[in-house]
Every structure is written in structure tokens, then in C-alpha cells.
């Protein structure tokens, strides 16, 4: 452990951070989107005639919420498949 290969250290750190990051980055937007759907269903049951407007707004706002999860996914894909630190320091 005292003499660890730095390339191995960066790889292990990347894998650990990717695992933790993808869990947090998908769980939190999923919870928030669930609350948004809950509120929208509440509104639809109260006013069924406004269902079309609510559905459009719900889809657009869920796409905006979803984009944070997509950012996390892209960062982790870059870390896993095209890690800039590994290519910068070791090639």
C-alpha cells in the first residue's frame, strides 16, 4: 500500500468515484422527478380538463430535471472511457 503505482491509484479512484457518483446523480433527480409527477397527478385529479396542459409542462420540466442526471452520466463516461488524467500523465 505504501508504494502504489500512481496509474493504478488513479484508476481505482476513478472507479470508486464513478460508482458513488452515478448512484447519487441518478437517485436524487429520480426522487425530485417523482415529486414532480406526484404534484402533476394531484393537479390532474383535481382538474381533469387541464390534463393536456399539465402533461406538456410535466414533460418539459422533467426533461430539464433529467439533464442533471445526464451531465453526471457524461462526466462518468468521460472518466471511464477517455480519462484525461491518465492520458495526460502517462502517455
Amino acid at each position: 500500500m505504501s508504494e502504489m503505482n500512481p496509474e493504478l491509484l488513479i484508476t481505482i479512484t476513478t472507479i470508486l468515484v464513478s460508482g458513488i457518483g452515478i448512484v447519487l446523480g441518478t437517485a436524487i433527480p429520480a426522487i425530485v422527478e417523482g415529486r414532480a409527477v406526484l404534484k402533476a397527478l394531484d393537479g390532474i385529479t383535481r382538474q381533469p380538463e387541464a390534463a393536456n396542459d399539465i402533461r406538456t409542462t410535466l414533460l418539459i420540466s422533467m426533461a430539464l430535471l433529467e439533464s442533471t442526471a445526464i451531465y453526471v452520466l457524461l462526466v462518468i463516461l468521460i472518466l471511464l472511457f477517455a480519462n484525461p488524467l491518465l492520458t495526460q500523465f502517462f502517455n
Partner: protein
Amino acid sequence: MESITPQIILYIFGIPISSTIISTWVTMLLITAFVLVISKFSPDALDMIGEFLTSMISGIMPEKNIDIYLPLLGTLAIFIAVSNSIGIIPILTAPTSDINTPIALSIVIFFSVHLFGIQKFGLIGYIKELATPIFLFPFEIIGQISRTVSLSLRLFGNILSGELISAIIFGLIPLVAPLPFIGLSLFIGILQAYVFTALSSVYIDAAVAANNNLV
């Protein structure tokens, strides 16, 4: 596993042609052939598609004459829907799983939003409209750029994640197991085409509405 950037398969006059450009051409060919064949045999089906797109876009931007926006937004919806779904043909990869295609599409949206705004208010009037509380003008510019970036990254990330998940499951269990994930990525592709078109409509709507820069 292959990298997340598409591989270059041939050079034409020194210009690199990647696999996603080939599938973009296939997409364009498919749409054109479909329209030609359908318009010869049953023009009512084309009417139905146009009606569907019109009702979808006019549901997002109500109380507006959408005739000048419909060609751009309808073409976007059809092109993105077909090019998201074309990844299920085994030798092709979806054009939108390459970062260049969504960035090109959202740059088109970026410029056309401001062109529609300038067309409505005139150049000076549109800039005045953007800078109505003058201390919020820098944030307005940051918002305009970041929403263009997020529009393209959202489409790219969704389609790429669908393809990667299918590939991973295919590597683990090659037989029946990838089917539900392929179905899910098809559904997500259609949904993302809707979302891209809806967000573009919202941006255009906010640009041509007075004092109403919502998103």
C-alpha cells in the same frame, strides 16, 4: 468495448467520414423515400402526420400563428425521431449518439431563436427586450449559451446511454436479455425527439413573446 467516439471508416477527398455520418445519410434517404412512396400511394397518411405535428406544436405555443415555425420544428421532430430509432438496425449507430449531430442541431435552434426574435421586434428592440432589467443582461447571455449546450447534451446523453446499456447487456447475455433495453431506448428516443422539439418551441415562444423570458 469500443470508445464513446465514433470510428472513422473512410476518407472522401481527405474528409474523414465516420460511421454516424453514414447513418445520417441513411436516415435522410429513409425519410425521403418514405415521403415519396407515401405521397404517391396514400397522401392522407402525410396529412395525418402533418396534422399530428401541428397539434403538438400548437399545444406548446398557444395563441401564436405557428405557420412560420412549423417547417423548422416539424423537420426537427421527424429527423430526430427517425435518427434516434435507426440505431436498432444492427450495422448502423444512431447519428445522435455522436456529439456533433446534437450540437449542430442545437446551434441551428440557437440562431433561429434569435432570428425569430429579431424578425418580431427588430434588432434594437430585441436587444432591449433581452436587457429589460439591465443588471440581468449578463445572466441572460449565460442562460442563452448554457441552455443551448444542455439541449444538445441531453439528447446526446440519452441516446448514448441507451446504446451503451444495450451493448453491455449484449456482452453479458447475448440472446433475449437485451430486448427490453432496446425497447426502452426506442421509447426514450421518441420521447427525446418530443422533448427537443418542445424545448425549441418554448425557446422560440419566449423569444417572440414580450417580456416573457421564462426558461
